[in-house]
């Protein structure tokens, strides 16, 4: 579904992403894991062209992403960021309708889709007229996801989506969200520095350091056959959190 080949990004002499190649299959959830500054967020933003690569290529669904205008392309890719990235001046209903409107959907279709999402996310419809400032952190995160899923994109990109939540809410929200059928059928690339989150959500994990992928594989592979000491140390660092 997503194919990165030899992707490199340089900022003013400093190489943020250095020759990254990977493949994400249909319906798969790939987690880009690593410390801050390891290049994982830059890699993610290159996929939907918020950042243009210095060299290398990206194909989504077999098509080179540079073949189409950025904005139009991004409308077909879901995008979730920390704390939802909701617009303070949009109500929940307007937030969810954002991408469908950009795509020119009919009002009644948008409304039906909004209701459907609210039901799936178990949010009362009274929330629809509220502004982000009037929502809890967990609610904001749900709405952020609903906004990303509204136009049924085949691919969703998530950048530290649960970063602003406290650990308890975070676990709760992510279990609930990743339990949704909608998300299970979607190809997801998720960026996090939280090992337990990666182990819990990932079909495969790409562990990055200094712009390169150190190891890519299923959580079991990384735990049981770490490629380097760095991989072992990174995953071992917080094992107690896995089972608490």
């Amino acid at each position: 579904m997503i194919e990165l080949r030899d992707l490199t990004k340089q900022f003013a002499g400093h190489t943020a992403v250095d020759g990254v190649s990977l493949h994400v299959g249909q319906g798969e959830t790939l987690v880009l894991l690593g410390t801050s500054g390891c290049g994982k967020t830059t890699t993610l933003k290159m996929i939907n062209r918020l950042i243009e690569p210095t060299s290398g290529s990206i194909r989504v669904d077999g098509i080179d992403v540079r073949q189409q205008p950025g904005p139009e392309f991004r409308r077909r890719i879901g995008y979730v960021i920390q704390d939802g990235g909701l617009f303070p001046h949009y109500t929940v209903a307007e937030a969810i309708a954002t991408v469908p409107k950009l795509l020119g959907w009919e009002a009644d279709v948008i409304q039906a889709r909004t209701r459907e999402l609210m039901a799936k996310l178990q949010l009362p419809e009274t929330v629809l007229s509220r502004y982000p400032g009037e929502l809890s952190g967990g609610q904001r995160q749900r709405i952020g996801l609903a906004r990303a899923l509204a136009a049924r994109p085949p691919v969703v990109l998530m950048d530290e989506p649960f970063g602003a939540l406290d650990p308890f809410t975070r676990r709760h929200v992510r279990r609930e969200l990743f339990g949704l059928n909608e998300l299970r059928e979607t190809t997801v690339v998720l960026v996090t520095h939280d090992v337990s989150e990666a182990l819990e959500l990932a079909d495969r994990i790409a562990l990055m350091d200094k712009g390169r992928i150190i190891q890519i594989g299923s959580p079991d592979e990384l735990l049981n056959q770490p490629a380097t000491d760095f991989v072992r140390e990174f995953l071992d660092d917080k094992p107690h959190r896995l089972h608490d």
């Binding site: 904005p71 409308r75 995008y79 960021i81 617009f87």
Partner: protein
Amino acid sequence: MTDFFTFVRDHADKLLEQTLTHIGLTFLSLLVALLIGVPLGILIARRQRLAGGVLGVAGVLQTVPSVALLGFLIPVLGIGIGPALVALFLYALLPIIRNTYVGITEVSPSVKEAARGLGMTPNQVLTRVEFPLALPVIFAGIRTATVINVGVATLAAYVAAGGLGEFIFSGIALSNVNMMLAGAIPAALLAVGFDFGLARLQQLSGRKLRVGALAFVALVPFISAFYLLPGRQDKLIAGFAHEFYGRTDGYPGLQKTYGLQLRPRLIDQNLMYEAIHRGQVDIISGYSTDGRINAFDLLVLDDNRHAFPPYAAAPVIRKATLNRYPDLEPTLNKLAGKLTDSVMTALNYRVDYQKESPEKVARDFLNQTGLYKKPSSVNRTETVVVGTKVFTEQYILAELYRQLIEGQTNLRVVTKTGLGGTQICFDALRTGTIDFYPEYTGTGLLVIMQPPAETLQQLPMQTDSVYQFVQQQFQARYQMDWLKPLGFNNSYCLMMRREQARQLGIRSIEDLVRYLDPK
């Protein structure tokens, strides 16, 4: 206080017109500032490299004092709404550009990134996300600009653009507190009122604010149209000095004597001549011997009903000086009747516009009239002191007297040419600091003597009668004498461009009244 309300009631029409003009000016300039400032603010938010320069220039413009700014604009734009509008626009620009810039750059980066990430084009990010979120800040800038402009718009009255400054500056020129307050209080109320109203609008939250702010901005063009409401379609446009407009011997006297009905624009008296020269007004008030009458080819309208009191010039001299130097009176009287209006105007013109020295102009005149004598080289022990007020005509007269006296007598003459005003000159004369100075009969009557209203009503406003009245009174009260008049009258007058007056067949104020209101 009751005087104030009486004044307001009597001038309600004028006050309403001024208020509407004032509001119109404020909002017209605000509209232009919005049309230019908001896009400029957006531009510099996009291209940060330009931000420093643009905000710097707007900031410098903001710090230029408003009177100085008008001073820069008048040579380029003349008078009227042009310079007023440009000055107001420049003052409104900074708060609008700066707040647009700050409002947009302060939108959270994560929100902007989310907007792009969802697939909005740069224009959609601007119009759907950045601009609505920046609106409260932009609106605060609009509020600041509005309040600044209500204040600065009072200065429009300097350049004949109208507004509440007309009453304020006329009031100051006439020391008329009620008139001053009739302009100042509404101007202050407008500022406070707009500030309060816009503050209330600003406190609305979210969508209400956006709707309110857009409604306000949509209203601005309509409010701007207030400027056009007070009709200005007179056949001839009059531009009067603030003092002339308010003084009883100025415009009110004309209204009483001739039934003249104009809707004069008020304008600073030094800009008046420039305005009529450029054709921005057709009739101005002025002084009958001003050098600019020649310079700009103006025609002084004949005042055959004597609405303006005569201001015949003559030397006022201490009795003691006359007694001590018996030569002096016949010598000074040699000038009597020699300086007619047109002669004096020509002399003023040579000094003001041809930049000749008063000394040379005076000598040329004495030569032409055969009064010039080369001063003999005797030892001059006795001294007379001539005083003058601070304007060209008086400087020329002082030179005439100096050269005349030194040529014809053995007296030494000292000139004191810096006595600020009538009262200062007169006090210097009374205390003996000076021996004589050229004064005008009207000034002697209305400024120095200030007789009660009944006396004035009985006194015929003719050159001779006023001269005789002040002469007798000064002899009796102050031991001073008015010597023979020089011949010219430097009085208030109405002027038109000679060419236009000829075309319309207007020579006198009576002709003007007939032309304006043919029955």
